[in-house]
Amino acid sequence: MAAFHLEMKVNGELVAVDIDPGMRLLDVLREVLHLTGTKEGCGEGECGACSVILDGELVDSCLVMAPQAYGKEVVTIEGVAALGQLHPLQEAFIEAGAVQCGFCTPGMILAAKVLLDHNPNPDRQEIARAISGNLCRCTGYSKIIKAVEIAASRIKAEAGAASD
């Protein structure tokens, strides 16, 4: 069928591509834009490996038809590090040993980022709930939760320092 003209913002940049409308947002990110940090695990909304932030909310990009992103703003893991500087969440994940095979990590970091954007002081339960749509086969989650706690306290400290 005729191509669909998709315009959206991806990691702060306007993108206009003509795509097959049978593609999911996940397919456009990976195959068309070559943003391969977003992973495909289950392809049916169970694992969260394909998580991206769409207009400020965490979604499974395997459950979004690409045309549905029209006019919206997408943030992928590639958009999290600012100017070559890792995000505090990324640093904390490395330090806390929260990354093993790494397949779940992009989705985990985005889930944690949405949480911290809304709630800078989450407790462990809130962190666990925020990442409950993201499966990890390797770490057993406790190091991931630890990493989010470390990042939260650093972001707070930085914000405090900046406002002094």
């Binding site: 069928m1 669909f4 097959d20 409308p21 049978g22 593609m23 999911r24 397919d27 195959e31 392809g43 049916e44 909304g45 169970e46 969260g48 998580s51 909310e57 965490l58 979604v59 499974d60 395997c62 459950l63 979004v64 038809m65 045309p67 549905q68 029209y70 006019g71 889930a111 949405v114 709930r129 925020a130 409950s132 749509g133 993201n134």
Partner: protein
């Protein structure tokens, strides 16, 4: 050793759905006109959480999607007089976080908060939950207890149908292919009411173990004058159980009423499920969730989610 079959994708073959049409109208009228001429070949697409995997597994025989996501007429949570109106594209997250819903109908906020994962709650919609007619649709159980009605629109006009009458079995509804659910609405329960929702089993993988219950009781001078009880994942769709409502009406909350309700609930589940393999488990489970929910409504304690 036998080879294990893994899911394999051939690029461009399975990844990309074969669609002949993808319509994305920005006005409801246009959407209805498109549906009117499409026969049953155009499938309305809301949050996509159920539909997209189903389409990709070849379970849907359709030519294309009618994407509803840009239709403003299907959005928003509004209070109108003593009624609450929910646009059909209202997501579970919006319900969970809405001050109006949390305040007036906490059972619906509770039901929405137990759906799937954060991602699914951000994507899934109340309209989709009804249209897919899953036996365990959490928010639908709450809507059935609220005696919610759905406003269905088509190019031919409007009809208003109680949500429980729209549900006609697992995956089956009375929604015509040319119709869209525009909104769902219900009367706010009387001021002297208590309501709640309880659910067992959270993960999709445990679908067999899922069961949920929504209860609304109105108390006058300590007596339950009106009760609404809905059960999900017991029958093919969530439904109101008038026998259980009858157990509560005209009585005063007490530990013995709680026990009576619990054993009646077990019998109802047994009768409904018959010899099904899940029946023994669910008979036990219903007692647990009934006890949790009623002790919370009667005495103000107990857990929200079992």
């Amino acid at each position: 050793m036998g080879a294990r079959a893994y899911k394999t994708y051939k690029k461009d073959e399975i990844k990309v759905l074969k669609l002949q049409e993808f319509c994305q109208p920005v006005e409801l009228k246009k959407a209805l006109d498109l549906l009117a001429v499409a026969g049953d070949q155009l499938k309305p697409l809301a949050g996509g959480t159920d539909l997209i995997p189903a389409a990709r597994q070849g379970e849907l025989k359709i030519k294309g999607f009618l994407d509803l996501s840009r239709l403003e007429e299907l959005k928003g949570i509004k209070e109108e007089g003593r009624e609450i109106h929910l646009g059909s594209l209202t997501t579970f997250s919006q319900l969970e976080l809405s001050p109006l819903i949390k305040d007036q109908v906490p059972l619906l906020a509770e039901a929405a908060s137990t759906v799937g994962s954060p991602q699914i709650r951000n994507q899934g919609t109340i309209g989709g939950n009804i249209a897919n007619a899953s036996p365990a649709a959490d928010t639908v159980t709450a809507l059935v207890a609220l005696e919610a009605q759905a406003r269905l629109v088509s190019s031919q006009g409007i009809r208003v149908v109680p949500v429980d009458e729209l549900l006609c079995g697992m995956g089956e509804t009375g929604i015509q292919p040319q119709e869209i659910i525009q909104e769902v609405f219900f009367a706010i329960p009387p001021p002297e009411n208590r309501n709640g929702f309880v659910k067992l089993g959270r993960r999709k993988a445990l679908a067999i173990a899922r069961m949920n219950m929504a209860v609304i009781i109105t108390l006058e001078d300590g007596v339950i004058t009106r009760a609404r009880v809905a059960l999900g994942a017991v029958g093919p769709n969530p439904y109101r159980n008038q026998i259980l409502e009858g157990v509560l009406e005209g009585r005063k909350p007490s530990p013995s009423l709680l026990e009576e309700f619990t054993s009646e609930a077990e019998q109802e589940v047994a009768a409904k499920l018959g010899p099904r393999p899940s029946a023994p488990y669910k008979r036990e489970a219903i007692k647990g969730i009934a006890r949790d929910l009623l002790s919370r409504l009667f005495f103000g304690n107990g857990q929200v989610v079992a």
